[in-house]
Amino acid sequence: MTAARPALVTGGGRGIGRAIAVALAAAGHPVAVGYQTGKQEADDVVAEIVAAGGQAMPAAMDVTDEASVDDAVTAVERELGPIAVLVNNAGITDDGLFIRMDTDRWRRVLATNLDGAFTVTRRVTPGLVKARWGRIVNVSSVVGLLGSAGQANYAAAKAGLIGLTRSLARELAPRNITCNVVAPGPVATAMTDALPDARRAALAAAVPLGRFAEPAEVAAVVAFLCSDPAAYVTGAVVPVDGGLGMGH
């Protein structure tokens, strides 16, 4: 069993984040569904959670903007109480071959996927330290370990999350705060739906389990890492990739 501790999921309105928000709510956490652009989607997730008997609220935030994050976290903590569980899931892709990748494209992906996790975690961590309890899960990707042609920016950001997480795991362990990474492989979301059919088929064929993950399959692992029984797991990079990244 897991105590009902308030959780914030960034990028919680769609895809993997949506599934994580739903899974954490099902585990008894009041959940703040962070979103930047998809207000309707975030409202839908909140409605779904509430209809299932859970507690949730939407939380508008731009993870690249410190003031926006501060305002959102303040509002969440006023309504749900001090955040005890943080899932940094907000992420974007902006793919292109490295040789043609301009600095803006590089920076934009790093700003959301890596700096964003820093900014939100930085805002939430003092409360976790005070409470002497916390769970931080950062959503990385198998490409952070394997690399990915056309995704140098995304892979660099996702690899960066691993270094961030493991440093935090060491710093915060004395305060009973665990910090872990999940590294999904290809997941059936709008992000991967946008890929050409041939690319999707090739990706699925490269996965030993031969298919994309459902978002709920990633969310189940995140929910475990956020639970009381996961108290002795910290600094881990947990693959949820159908075997794609084995050995990395």
Partner: protein, 85 residues
């Protein structure tokens, strides 16, 4: 701000956060050796002082702070800076 008020506040933080015995504390008490505090403990003490006195203490101010007296000096200096701006 009275210096004695800050001393009391630092003592409070040491008792609450570092489980120190209040009767044993003096301005010469060292965080690391006497109170077995690590760097994160010291940051927590500073955060509680920031909250109590509504101050922002820059990271650089923590350099060289080893004793309770030095922590008091740091807060007093920041408070007088804040009051004069």
């Amino acid at each position: 701000m009275e210096r004695t008020e800050v001393v009391d506040a630092v003592y409070d933080a040491c008792v609450e956060l570092l489980k120190a015995d209040r009767a044993s504390l003096t301005e010469a008490t060292t965080f690391a050796e006497d109170l077995d505090a690590d760097s994160l403990d010291l940051v927590e003490v500073v955060m509680s002082l920031e909250d109590r006195f509504d101050l922002k203490i820059p990271e650089d101010d923590l350099e060289g702070v080893e004793t309770i007296g030095q922590a008091v000096d740091m807060v007093v200096a920041r408070a007088s800076d804040a009051a004069s701006t």
